[in-house]
Amino acid sequence: MVADQLGVRPSYCDVVDLGGATATGMIWRAAAAIDAGVCRAVLCVLAEAPDPRPGVRSPTWPALPNAQWERTYGSLGPNSGYALAAARHAHLYGTTDEQRAKVAVDQRTNACANPESLFFGRPITVDDVLTSPLICDPLHLLEIVMPCFGATAFVVARGDVARASTNVPVRLRGFGEQVSHSSLVSMPDITRTPIVESSRRAYETAGVGPGDIDVLSLYDCYTITVILSLEDAGFCAKGEGGPFVADHDLTYAGDLPCNTHGGQLSYGQAGLAGGASHVTEAVLQLRGEGGARQVPDCGLALVNGNGGILAEQCTLVLERGDA
Protein backbone atom coordinates (compact mmCIF):
# COMPACT_ATOMS: atom_id res chain seq x y z
CA MET A 1 0.00 0.00 0.00
CA VAL A 2 2.74 2.45 0.98
CA ALA A 3 4.83 1.43 -2.02
CA ASP A 4 1.99 2.12 -4.43
CA GLN A 5 1.22 5.46 -2.82
CA LEU A 6 4.86 6.42 -3.27
CA GLY A 7 5.12 4.95 -6.73
CA VAL A 8 7.90 2.60 -5.63
CA ARG A 9 8.35 -1.00 -6.83
CA PRO A 10 10.27 -2.62 -3.95
CA SER A 11 12.48 -5.69 -4.28
CA TYR A 12 11.69 -6.56 -0.67
CA CYS A 13 8.39 -6.10 1.16
CA ASP A 14 7.57 -7.29 4.64
CA VAL A 15 5.19 -6.84 7.55
CA VAL A 16 6.57 -6.92 11.08
CA ASP A 17 4.26 -7.29 14.05
CA LEU A 18 6.03 -7.43 17.37
CA GLY A 19 3.71 -5.00 19.13
CA GLY A 20 5.79 -2.32 20.78
CA ALA A 21 8.97 -4.03 19.58
CA THR A 22 7.96 -3.68 15.94
CA ALA A 23 10.11 -0.63 15.19
CA THR A 24 13.29 -2.04 16.68
CA GLY A 25 12.51 -5.42 15.10
CA MET A 26 12.15 -3.74 11.70
CA ILE A 27 15.61 -2.26 11.88
CA TRP A 28 17.66 -5.42 12.19
CA ARG A 29 15.42 -7.22 9.70
CA ALA A 30 15.99 -4.41 7.22
CA ALA A 31 19.72 -4.53 7.92
CA ALA A 32 19.72 -8.30 7.39
CA ALA A 33 17.90 -7.92 4.07
CA ILE A 34 20.47 -5.33 2.97
CA ASP A 35 23.30 -7.55 4.18
CA ALA A 36 21.84 -10.41 2.12
CA GLY A 37 21.99 -8.22 -0.98
CA VAL A 38 18.23 -8.12 -1.42
CA CYS A 39 18.05 -4.33 -1.42
CA ARG A 40 20.06 -1.16 -0.74
CA ALA A 41 17.64 0.81 1.38
CA VAL A 42 14.51 -0.08 3.33
CA LEU A 43 11.74 2.36 4.20
CA CYS A 44 10.15 1.40 7.52
CA VAL A 45 6.71 2.91 8.15
CA LEU A 46 4.57 2.72 11.26
CA ALA A 47 1.25 4.50 11.50
CA GLU A 48 -1.81 4.15 13.63
CA ALA A 49 -5.11 5.82 14.24
CA PRO A 50 -6.45 4.04 17.31
CA ASP A 51 -10.23 3.84 17.64
CA PRO A 52 -11.05 6.52 20.20
CA ARG A 53 -14.26 4.86 21.37
CA PRO A 54 -13.91 3.31 24.85
CA GLY A 55 -13.62 -0.43 24.87
CA VAL A 56 -13.18 -0.75 21.13
CA ARG A 57 -10.29 -2.99 20.33
CA SER A 58 -7.62 -1.70 18.03
CA PRO A 59 -7.13 -3.98 15.02
CA THR A 60 -3.56 -4.52 16.16
CA TRP A 61 -4.83 -6.30 19.27
CA PRO A 62 -6.31 -9.46 17.73
CA ALA A 63 -8.14 -12.12 19.68
CA LEU A 64 -5.42 -14.40 20.96
CA PRO A 65 -5.88 -18.08 21.82
CA ASN A 66 -5.41 -17.25 25.47
CA ALA A 67 -7.98 -14.45 25.46
CA GLN A 68 -10.87 -16.51 26.83
CA TRP A 69 -8.81 -17.38 29.89
CA GLU A 70 -8.30 -13.72 30.65
CA ARG A 71 -11.23 -11.71 29.29
CA THR A 72 -13.65 -13.85 31.29
CA TYR A 73 -12.04 -12.39 34.40
CA GLY A 74 -12.15 -8.79 33.28
CA SER A 75 -8.51 -8.59 32.26
CA LEU A 76 -7.74 -5.29 30.57
CA GLY A 77 -4.77 -6.75 28.74
CA PRO A 78 -1.89 -4.28 29.09
CA ASN A 79 -3.26 -2.10 31.92
CA SER A 80 -3.95 -5.02 34.24
CA GLY A 81 -0.99 -7.08 33.01
CA TYR A 82 1.59 -4.40 33.75
CA ALA A 83 -0.17 -3.67 37.03
CA LEU A 84 0.30 -7.33 38.00
CA ALA A 85 4.00 -7.03 37.21
CA ALA A 86 4.24 -3.80 39.22
CA ALA A 87 2.44 -5.36 42.19
CA ARG A 88 4.71 -8.39 42.16
CA HIS A 89 7.79 -6.18 41.88
CA ALA A 90 6.60 -4.08 44.83
CA HIS A 91 5.96 -7.23 46.86
CA LEU A 92 9.33 -8.84 46.12
CA TYR A 93 11.58 -5.79 46.21
CA GLY A 94 9.70 -3.08 48.05
CA THR A 95 9.47 -0.84 45.00
CA THR A 96 7.38 2.19 45.97
CA ASP A 97 4.77 4.26 44.19
CA GLU A 98 7.08 7.27 44.60
CA GLN A 99 9.94 5.51 42.82
CA ARG A 100 7.75 4.59 39.86
CA ALA A 101 6.30 8.10 39.79
CA LYS A 102 9.85 9.51 39.52
CA VAL A 103 10.10 7.90 36.06
CA ALA A 104 6.97 9.73 34.88
CA VAL A 105 8.17 13.02 36.36
CA ASP A 106 11.66 12.91 34.82
CA GLN A 107 10.23 11.99 31.44
CA ARG A 108 7.73 14.85 31.67
CA THR A 109 10.67 17.17 32.29
CA ASN A 110 12.12 15.84 29.03
CA ALA A 111 8.78 16.35 27.26
CA CYS A 112 8.77 19.95 28.38
CA ALA A 113 11.96 20.43 26.35
CA ASN A 114 10.36 18.82 23.29
CA PRO A 115 7.75 20.97 21.54
CA GLU A 116 6.52 17.91 19.62
CA SER A 117 5.48 16.00 22.71
CA LEU A 118 1.82 15.68 23.62
CA PHE A 119 2.39 17.10 27.12
CA PHE A 120 4.82 19.89 26.19
CA GLY A 121 4.54 22.76 28.62
CA ARG A 122 2.82 20.74 31.33
CA PRO A 123 5.34 19.74 34.01
CA ILE A 124 4.25 17.35 36.77
CA THR A 125 5.41 16.39 40.26
CA VAL A 126 5.56 13.07 42.05
CA ASP A 127 2.55 14.23 44.01
CA ASP A 128 0.64 14.85 40.76
CA VAL A 129 1.30 11.26 39.74
CA LEU A 130 0.30 9.80 43.10
CA THR A 131 -2.90 11.84 43.30
CA SER A 132 -3.96 10.95 39.77
CA PRO A 133 -6.65 8.24 39.78
CA LEU A 134 -5.67 4.65 40.37
CA ILE A 135 -6.54 2.66 37.24
CA CYS A 136 -5.20 -0.77 38.13
CA ASP A 137 -3.44 -0.88 41.50
CA PRO A 138 -0.71 0.11 41.92
CA LEU A 139 -0.66 1.99 38.60
CA HIS A 140 -2.02 5.53 38.48
CA LEU A 141 -3.33 7.38 35.44
CA LEU A 142 -0.07 9.32 34.99
CA GLU A 143 1.92 6.07 34.93
CA ILE A 144 0.08 4.93 31.81
CA VAL A 145 0.63 5.97 28.19
CA MET A 146 -1.68 8.36 26.43
CA PRO A 147 -2.97 6.93 23.13
CA CYS A 148 -2.84 9.30 20.20
CA PHE A 149 -2.76 9.40 16.43
CA GLY A 150 0.55 9.46 14.66
CA ALA A 151 3.05 7.95 12.31
CA THR A 152 6.78 7.41 12.17
CA ALA A 153 9.08 6.44 9.33
CA PHE A 154 12.79 5.86 8.99
CA VAL A 155 15.17 4.56 6.37
CA VAL A 156 17.66 1.77 6.92
CA ALA A 157 20.31 1.89 4.19
CA ARG A 158 23.55 0.29 3.09
CA GLY A 159 26.62 2.12 4.39
CA ASP A 160 27.53 3.82 1.11
CA VAL A 161 23.93 4.95 0.56
CA ALA A 162 23.72 6.32 4.11
CA ARG A 163 27.01 8.18 3.79
CA ALA A 164 25.73 9.87 0.62
CA SER A 165 22.83 11.32 2.61
CA THR A 166 22.86 14.88 3.84
CA ASN A 167 22.04 13.59 7.33
CA VAL A 168 24.66 12.43 9.81
CA PRO A 169 24.49 8.63 9.50
CA VAL A 170 23.66 6.45 12.47
CA ARG A 171 25.00 2.91 12.50
CA LEU A 172 23.32 -0.23 13.84
CA ARG A 173 26.18 -1.51 15.94
CA GLY A 174 24.40 -4.42 17.66
CA PHE A 175 21.01 -5.95 18.25
CA GLY A 176 19.23 -8.75 20.06
CA GLU A 177 15.72 -10.07 20.02
CA GLN A 178 13.83 -12.39 22.36
CA VAL A 179 10.16 -13.32 22.42
CA SER A 180 8.77 -15.35 25.28
CA HIS A 181 5.01 -15.65 25.69
CA SER A 182 1.51 -14.58 24.73
CA SER A 183 -0.35 -15.17 27.98
CA LEU A 184 1.00 -13.70 31.19
CA VAL A 185 0.49 -17.08 32.91
CA SER A 186 3.21 -18.47 30.63
CA MET A 187 5.81 -16.10 32.06
CA PRO A 188 7.63 -17.90 34.89
CA ASP A 189 8.64 -14.66 36.65
CA ILE A 190 6.62 -11.61 35.62
CA THR A 191 9.32 -9.30 36.97
CA ARG A 192 12.02 -10.79 34.73
CA THR A 193 11.61 -9.83 31.08
CA PRO A 194 13.23 -11.25 27.92
CA ILE A 195 15.22 -7.99 27.82
CA VAL A 196 17.75 -10.04 29.79
CA GLU A 197 18.46 -12.02 26.61
CA SER A 198 17.77 -9.35 23.99
CA SER A 199 20.04 -6.77 25.63
CA ARG A 200 22.78 -9.30 26.30
CA ARG A 201 22.91 -10.17 22.60
CA ALA A 202 22.77 -6.49 21.66
CA TYR A 203 25.77 -5.76 23.90
CA GLU A 204 27.66 -8.82 22.65
CA THR A 205 27.17 -8.02 18.97
CA ALA A 206 28.06 -4.36 19.59
CA GLY A 207 31.03 -5.15 21.79
CA VAL A 208 29.89 -2.68 24.44
CA GLY A 209 28.29 -2.75 27.88
CA PRO A 210 25.75 -0.68 29.81
CA GLY A 211 28.50 1.65 31.05
CA ASP A 212 29.31 2.71 27.48
CA ILE A 213 25.81 3.99 26.69
CA ASP A 214 25.28 7.76 26.47
CA VAL A 215 21.52 7.87 26.04
CA LEU A 216 18.75 5.38 26.77
CA SER A 217 15.55 4.99 24.81
CA LEU A 218 13.50 2.40 26.67
CA TYR A 219 9.96 1.46 25.73
CA ASP A 220 7.73 2.95 28.41
CA CYS A 221 4.10 1.96 28.09
CA TYR A 222 4.05 2.18 31.91
CA THR A 223 6.45 3.44 34.56
CA ILE A 224 7.14 -0.12 35.70
CA THR A 225 8.31 -1.01 32.18
CA VAL A 226 11.22 1.42 32.46
CA ILE A 227 12.24 0.05 35.86
CA LEU A 228 12.15 -3.56 34.64
CA SER A 229 14.06 -2.56 31.49
CA LEU A 230 16.83 -0.83 33.45
CA GLU A 231 17.26 -3.93 35.60
CA ASP A 232 17.16 -6.45 32.77
CA ALA A 233 19.42 -4.40 30.48
CA GLY A 234 22.05 -4.45 33.21
CA PHE A 235 21.97 -0.90 34.54
CA CYS A 236 21.23 -2.16 38.04
CA ALA A 237 20.60 -5.50 39.74
CA LYS A 238 17.22 -7.21 39.68
CA GLY A 239 15.00 -5.61 42.27
CA GLU A 240 17.05 -2.42 42.58
CA GLY A 241 15.27 -0.53 39.81
CA GLY A 242 13.14 1.48 42.25
CA PRO A 243 16.02 2.95 44.28
CA PHE A 244 18.03 3.26 41.05
CA VAL A 245 15.55 5.62 39.35
CA ALA A 246 15.22 7.57 42.60
CA ASP A 247 19.01 8.03 42.78
CA HIS A 248 19.59 8.91 39.13
CA ASP A 249 18.44 11.85 37.04
CA LEU A 250 16.76 10.47 33.92
CA THR A 251 16.32 13.86 32.29
CA TYR A 252 18.27 15.06 29.25
CA ALA A 253 20.46 17.07 31.63
CA GLY A 254 20.92 14.20 34.06
CA ASP A 255 23.50 11.51 34.73
CA LEU A 256 21.46 8.84 32.93
CA PRO A 257 19.43 10.46 30.14
CA CYS A 258 16.47 8.23 29.35
CA ASN A 259 13.57 8.79 26.96
CA THR A 260 14.68 12.31 26.25
CA HIS A 261 11.70 12.96 23.95
CA GLY A 262 9.44 12.48 26.96
CA GLY A 263 8.93 8.79 26.43
CA GLN A 264 5.58 7.60 25.26
CA LEU A 265 4.25 8.48 28.71
CA SER A 266 4.60 12.14 27.85
CA TYR A 267 5.24 12.18 24.10
CA GLY A 268 2.17 10.04 23.36
CA GLN A 269 1.66 6.53 22.07
CA ALA A 270 0.51 6.41 18.48
CA GLY A 271 0.11 2.65 18.42
CA LEU A 272 3.11 0.93 16.87
CA ALA A 273 4.49 4.32 15.87
CA GLY A 274 4.81 5.07 19.58
CA GLY A 275 7.50 2.43 19.91
CA ALA A 276 9.20 3.93 16.88
CA SER A 277 9.54 7.24 18.70
CA HIS A 278 12.24 5.61 20.83
CA VAL A 279 14.19 4.90 17.65
CA THR A 280 13.79 8.35 16.10
CA GLU A 281 14.69 10.08 19.36
CA ALA A 282 17.89 8.03 19.68
CA VAL A 283 18.76 8.92 16.07
CA LEU A 284 18.14 12.64 16.70
CA GLN A 285 20.33 12.54 19.82
CA LEU A 286 23.15 10.72 18.01
CA ARG A 287 23.00 13.23 15.16
CA GLY A 288 23.14 16.10 17.61
CA GLU A 289 19.71 17.30 16.53
CA GLY A 290 18.10 17.09 19.97
CA GLY A 291 17.59 20.83 20.25
CA ALA A 292 16.87 22.03 23.78
CA ARG A 293 17.03 18.47 25.05
CA GLN A 294 20.32 17.48 23.36
CA VAL A 295 22.54 15.22 25.46
CA PRO A 296 26.15 16.42 25.12
CA ASP A 297 28.75 14.13 23.51
CA CYS A 298 26.18 11.56 22.54
CA GLY A 299 27.86 8.73 20.64
CA LEU A 300 26.10 5.53 21.66
CA ALA A 301 22.41 4.84 22.32
CA LEU A 302 20.57 1.82 23.65
CA VAL A 303 17.05 1.43 22.26
CA ASN A 304 14.60 -1.16 23.52
CA GLY A 305 11.27 -2.10 22.02
CA ASN A 306 8.80 -3.98 24.20
CA GLY A 307 5.68 -5.69 22.85
CA GLY A 308 2.71 -7.49 24.34
CA ILE A 309 2.89 -7.73 28.11
CA LEU A 310 6.66 -7.79 28.54
CA ALA A 311 6.72 -10.52 25.89
CA GLU A 312 8.42 -9.30 22.73
CA GLN A 313 11.75 -7.60 23.18
CA CYS A 314 14.14 -6.22 20.63
CA THR A 315 17.15 -4.21 21.76
CA LEU A 316 19.44 -2.12 19.55
CA VAL A 317 22.77 -0.43 20.08
CA LEU A 318 22.96 2.58 17.76
CA GLU A 319 26.10 4.59 17.14
CA ARG A 320 26.85 7.95 15.59
CA GLY A 321 28.22 6.82 12.25
CA ASP A 322 30.58 9.62 11.18
CA ALA A 323 33.13 9.12 13.95
Binding site: Y73, L76, L84, A87, H91, I135, C136, D137, P138, I190
Partner: protein, 146 residues
Protein backbone atom coordinates in the same frame (compact mmCIF):
# COMPACT_ATOMS: atom_id res chain seq x y z
CA UNK B 1 -21.27 -19.86 45.03
CA UNK B 2 -19.89 -16.41 44.85
CA UNK B 3 -22.79 -14.06 45.18
CA UNK B 4 -21.61 -11.46 42.72
CA UNK B 5 -23.68 -12.69 39.81
CA UNK B 6 -26.84 -12.54 41.86
CA UNK B 7 -26.41 -9.00 43.12
CA UNK B 8 -29.10 -6.82 41.67
CA UNK B 9 -27.94 -4.39 39.02
CA UNK B 10 -24.73 -6.22 38.21
CA UNK B 11 -24.97 -7.94 34.83
CA UNK B 12 -23.56 -11.45 34.62
CA UNK B 13 -20.01 -11.71 33.40
CA UNK B 14 -19.57 -12.63 29.74
CA UNK B 15 -20.13 -16.26 28.89
CA UNK B 16 -16.69 -17.83 28.41
CA UNK B 17 -15.75 -17.95 24.76
CA UNK B 18 -15.87 -21.45 23.34
CA UNK B 19 -12.76 -23.33 22.38
CA UNK B 20 -12.48 -26.99 21.46
CA UNK B 21 -9.68 -27.42 23.97
CA UNK B 22 -11.29 -25.58 26.84
CA UNK B 23 -14.72 -27.24 26.93
CA UNK B 24 -13.90 -29.75 29.74
CA UNK B 25 -12.66 -26.88 31.93
CA UNK B 26 -15.89 -24.92 31.61
CA UNK B 27 -18.10 -28.01 31.81
CA UNK B 28 -16.46 -29.05 35.08
CA UNK B 29 -16.97 -25.55 36.48
CA UNK B 30 -20.73 -25.95 36.03
CA UNK B 31 -20.42 -29.04 38.27
CA UNK B 32 -18.39 -27.08 40.83
CA UNK B 33 -15.11 -28.76 39.95
CA UNK B 34 -11.81 -27.18 38.95
CA UNK B 35 -9.97 -29.28 36.38
CA UNK B 36 -6.66 -28.64 34.66
CA UNK B 37 -5.38 -30.03 31.39
CA UNK B 38 -2.97 -32.94 31.89
CA UNK B 39 -0.62 -34.91 29.68
CA UNK B 40 -0.92 -38.65 30.33
CA UNK B 41 2.39 -39.28 28.58
CA UNK B 42 4.68 -36.99 30.57
CA UNK B 43 2.32 -36.39 33.52
CA UNK B 44 2.51 -32.61 33.30
CA UNK B 45 -0.25 -30.12 33.97
CA UNK B 46 -0.66 -27.06 31.78
CA UNK B 47 -2.90 -24.03 31.78
CA UNK B 48 -4.43 -22.63 29.63
CA UNK B 49 -5.63 -25.66 27.61
CA UNK B 50 -3.94 -26.18 24.25
CA UNK B 51 -4.18 -28.74 21.42
CA UNK B 52 -1.00 -30.43 22.63
CA UNK B 53 1.38 -30.75 25.55
CA UNK B 54 3.93 -27.95 25.40
CA UNK B 55 6.53 -30.23 27.01
CA UNK B 56 6.30 -33.34 24.79
CA UNK B 57 3.81 -32.39 22.02
CA UNK B 58 1.55 -35.33 22.88
CA UNK B 59 -1.85 -34.44 21.47
CA UNK B 60 -4.27 -36.65 23.38
CA UNK B 61 -4.59 -34.77 26.63
CA UNK B 62 -7.05 -35.24 29.47
CA UNK B 63 -8.23 -33.13 32.39
CA UNK B 64 -7.70 -33.91 36.07
CA UNK B 65 -9.35 -32.55 39.21
CA UNK B 66 -7.16 -30.29 41.34
CA UNK B 67 -7.48 -29.21 44.95
CA UNK B 68 -8.64 -25.70 44.14
CA UNK B 69 -6.21 -24.34 46.70
CA UNK B 70 -3.52 -21.89 45.85
CA UNK B 71 -1.54 -18.76 46.57
CA UNK B 72 -1.89 -15.29 45.05
CA UNK B 73 1.19 -14.79 42.84
CA UNK B 74 0.17 -11.23 42.03
CA UNK B 75 -2.99 -9.16 42.12
CA UNK B 76 -4.38 -5.82 41.01
CA UNK B 77 -7.55 -3.93 41.80
CA UNK B 78 -9.15 -3.01 38.50
CA UNK B 79 -10.86 0.36 38.97
CA UNK B 80 -11.79 1.24 35.38
CA UNK B 81 -13.16 -1.09 32.74
CA UNK B 82 -15.09 0.27 29.77
CA UNK B 83 -16.52 -3.18 29.00
CA UNK B 84 -20.20 -2.95 30.06
CA UNK B 85 -20.08 -6.41 31.61
CA UNK B 86 -17.40 -5.25 34.02
CA UNK B 87 -18.07 -1.53 34.31
CA UNK B 88 -20.50 -2.12 37.17
CA UNK B 89 -18.20 -4.61 38.89
CA UNK B 90 -15.32 -2.24 39.54
CA UNK B 91 -13.41 -2.24 41.74
CA UNK B 92 -12.62 -5.95 41.46
CA UNK B 93 -9.53 -8.06 41.99
CA UNK B 94 -7.76 -9.60 39.03
CA UNK B 95 -5.17 -12.08 40.25
CA UNK B 96 -2.65 -14.61 39.10
CA UNK B 97 -3.11 -17.65 41.32
CA UNK B 98 -0.51 -20.38 41.72
CA UNK B 99 -2.42 -23.59 42.35
CA UNK B 100 -0.82 -25.96 44.83
CA UNK B 101 -0.40 -28.39 41.93
CA UNK B 102 2.06 -25.95 40.33
CA UNK B 103 -0.11 -24.31 37.68
CA UNK B 104 -0.65 -20.57 37.36
CA UNK B 105 -4.02 -19.19 36.27
CA UNK B 106 -5.67 -15.82 35.95
CA UNK B 107 -8.85 -15.39 37.96
CA UNK B 108 -10.76 -13.08 40.27
CA UNK B 109 -10.61 -13.08 44.05
CA UNK B 110 -14.15 -12.35 45.20
CA UNK B 111 -16.31 -11.94 48.30
CA UNK B 112 -13.96 -9.62 50.13
CA UNK B 113 -12.79 -6.02 50.16
CA UNK B 114 -10.51 -5.68 47.13
CA UNK B 115 -7.72 -4.20 49.24
CA UNK B 116 -7.76 -7.31 51.47
CA UNK B 117 -6.19 -9.39 48.71
CA UNK B 118 -2.39 -9.38 48.86
CA UNK B 119 0.44 -11.14 47.09
CA UNK B 120 1.11 -14.39 48.94
CA UNK B 121 -2.43 -14.74 50.30
CA UNK B 122 -3.88 -18.24 50.42
CA UNK B 123 -7.04 -18.74 48.36
CA UNK B 124 -9.45 -21.50 47.44
CA UNK B 125 -11.66 -21.93 44.44
CA UNK B 126 -15.33 -20.97 44.25
CA UNK B 127 -17.64 -20.87 41.27
CA UNK B 128 -19.65 -17.98 39.94
CA UNK B 129 -22.73 -18.97 38.00
CA UNK B 130 -23.13 -17.11 34.72
CA UNK B 131 -26.24 -18.89 33.42
CA UNK B 132 -27.71 -22.39 33.42
CA UNK B 133 -24.88 -23.82 31.38
CA UNK B 134 -21.93 -21.65 32.33
CA UNK B 135 -19.92 -21.08 35.49
CA UNK B 136 -16.55 -19.46 36.08
CA UNK B 137 -13.94 -20.62 38.61
CA UNK B 138 -13.01 -17.77 40.94
CA UNK B 139 -11.23 -17.69 44.29
CA UNK B 140 -11.92 -16.52 47.82
CA UNK B 141 -9.46 -15.72 50.56
CA UNK B 142 -8.63 -18.76 52.66
CA UNK B 143 -6.63 -17.54 55.65
CA UNK B 144 -6.73 -21.00 57.22
CA UNK B 145 -5.41 -22.60 54.04
CA UNK B 146 -2.03 -24.23 54.41
Amino acid sequence: MSGSAEVEGIPPRPVPESSPYGEPYWAAAVDGRLVIQHCPRCDRLQHFPRPWCTACLHDELDFVDVSGRGTVYSCTVVRRNPNPAFATRVPYVLALVDLDEGVRMMSNVVDCAPEAVTVGARVRVCFETVDDTHAVPCFTLDPEGT
